[in-house]
């Protein structure tokens, strides 16, 4: 019967595409991670677990740790900034879709351009420093760019919409009479939000944290451009192994540990919410 055949046939192109661009590359990386670095880059025998051992050397653990806390700090800042706005949109009398789309619109335009926009504002010859100097408020440019703070700013700016969206989704479903009840019982507005709205929007908070933390942990462009290569995160370390350092086995091992870490966070934070796939 054709009932079974059509879906199976329809899956074929995607199966090939996924096999070629997701599974095969990971398989190659897995094999490379067990080999030894060749004399001219590339890989050669014998097989070894040495590359995985190197991932846990102090210098690399330090970079891993920095990536985790930079991503965590950016996530917490996103949560603090996003919650009141999501609450506001969810409670807005009208134009909710418009307000939400206004949040998402910059996200879908170029990430690179948005990063460049901040570089234009912050660099030594950028708008802020030039203006302050012209006004005579400072004489030497303030180093606003190329530090950890700039990286966190870039990440918060880049991924804030990812936090607002799931928060809005849960807050919108929140029954307003619960907040009214809290107010009737003598709670201040702030404590009604803190003790009623926040606990009840836990699924949205978790989903938002996953959606922000995972890409922040994997950030490459932001630390590269806004950190100026001085704030190396794990993504930059991986890239370096495949380009300048030409140590493919170590880069491969690092990639797999990195992927495993992202996967763990995804599984850990992702509650059974709205199914995407």
């Amino acid at each position: 019967m054709t009932t079974v055949r059509l879906p199976r046939l329809f899956l074929l192109p995607s199966q090939w595409l996924l096999g070629a661009t997701v599974l095969a590359p990971l398989l190659v990386i897995a094999i490379y991670s067990l080999l030894t670095r060749g004399a001219y880059g590339g890989v050669t025998g014998p097989t070894t677990l040495g590359s995985y051992g190197r991932v846990f050397q102090p210098i690399y653990l330090y970079i891993l740790w920095r990536s985790i806390w930079v991503a965590a700090l950016s996530t917490v800042l996103c949560l603090i900034l996003a919650f009141p706005l999501a609450f506001y949109i969810a409670r807005a009398a009208r134009n909710r879709t418009l307000l939400l789309n206004l949040v998402m619109l910059p996200f879908w335009t170029s990430f690179l351009v948005r990063t460049y926009a901040w570089m234009f504002l912050l660099r030594d010859t950028g708008l802020l420093n030039t203006t302050l100097q012209r006004l005579g408020l400072i004489h030497v440019p303030i180093p606003l760019l190329f530090n950890v703070g700039a990286v966190v700013l870039g990440l918060v700016y880049g991924y804030l919409p990812f936090m607002i969206l799931p928060l809005y989704a849960t807050l919108e479903k929140l029954d307003p009479s619960l907040l009214e009840a809290a107010l009737d019982l003598g709670a201040t507005p702030a404590s009604a939000i803190w003790r009623v709205a926040v606990p009840l929007s836990r699924p949205g908070i978790l989903a938002g944290c996953a959606l922000v933390f995972i890409p922040c942990l994997g950030a490459y462009l932001t630390p590269d451009l806004m950190g100026g290569g001085k704030t190396v995160m794990i993504g930059n370390l991986v890239q370096n192994q495949f380009t300048n350092a030409r140590d493919w086995p170590f880069g491969a091992a690092l990639s797999l540990v990195f992927l495993g870490l992202s996967g763990l966070v995804a599984v850990g934070l992702q509650r059974r919410g709205d199914q995407l796939l």
Partner: protein
């Protein structure tokens, strides 16, 4: 609280839009410095004579059009198939492609390509970039199409079957027309994601396939340059329009229910 929230919301919207707004203002600045000294459209005029920039734009357009077409066709078919019956490995592979850090996707594709080059007479170029882009766009296409399918009534296809349509005809003449706005929205979304990618592209591109984001990246590293401001404004405007269009299509497919 009632007074605080609207003010706060305005501040966040300002935070989101001010950098892009400032950038567009200064793309009309009559000076190479970040100091306002009169209005000019000279920087936009200069873009047309920048060969590297034009070639990058053409490459980006070709890659985005081909890759988003491949991803949208494959994603639509897969979305439909997954709607009919679950396929655990396809679903999991799609999730895997979503959670894999971009840089890992990039280096693993690079490793695969380099490995294949031992056996094939092939090298990094437009082909490898298009394959990579089709791969990471696929999940987005499936998500958009599947979201629309979940709002459809399965009874529609059953009715078609009762009236003598076979599976293909039910898909072709009943479901696909209803799905078309979502398919177009998926295509536009894939286009913007592909057009903007830097991280994966920079790893799998060859000498003949430098894309617009790669050109912008190397210009951005060098310092303040009003030409980059101008090209940034054009990119933002173009992609913004596409996204508004995609949103409208998705919205219309929901209201036509």
């Amino acid at each position: 609280m009632r007074r605080f929230l609207p003010v706060y919301a305005k501040a966040i919207y300002a935070f989101l839009y001010l950098p892009l707004f400032t950038l567009s203002v200064f793309s009309f600045n009559n000076s190479k410095l970040a100091l306002w000294s009169g209005f000019t459209t000279a920087w936009y005029g200069r873009l047309w004579s920048d060969r590297v920039l034009l070639e990058g734009t053409i490459n980006s357009l070709v890659i985005a059009i081909v890759a988003s077409s491949i991803a949208t066709v494959a994603g639509t078919l897969a979305g439909y198939a997954l709607w009919k019956r679950r396929s655990l490995w396809v679903t999991n592979a799609l999730y895997l492609s979503l959670i894999t850090p971009e840089i890992v996707t990039g280096v693993s594709l690079l490793a695969l390509f380099q490995f294949l080059f031992h056996f094939l007479h092939w090298q990094l170029g437009l082909g490898s970039v298009i394959l990579a882009h089709s791969g990471f766009c696929l999940a987005y296409a499936v998500i958009v199409v599947l979201a629309r399918l979940r709002t459809l009534d399965p009874a529609l296809e059953e009715a078609a079957a009762d009236l003598g349509a076979n599976d293909w005809e039910a898909f072709r003449y009943v479901t696909l027309p209803l799905l078309l706005p979502a398919v177009l929205a998926a295509g536009l979304l894939c286009f913007t994601v592909s057009f903007d990618d830097y991280v994966i592209t920079s790893l799998v591109a060859g000498v003949d396939s430098e894309t617009l984001p790669m050109v912008v990246y190397s210009m951005a590293r060098k310092g303040v340059n009003p030409e980059v401001n101008a090209i940034s404004v054009l990119i933002t405007g173009g992609l913004g329009l596409l996204i508004l269009l995609a949103g409208k299509l998705e919205g219309s497919s929901e209201s036509s229910r």
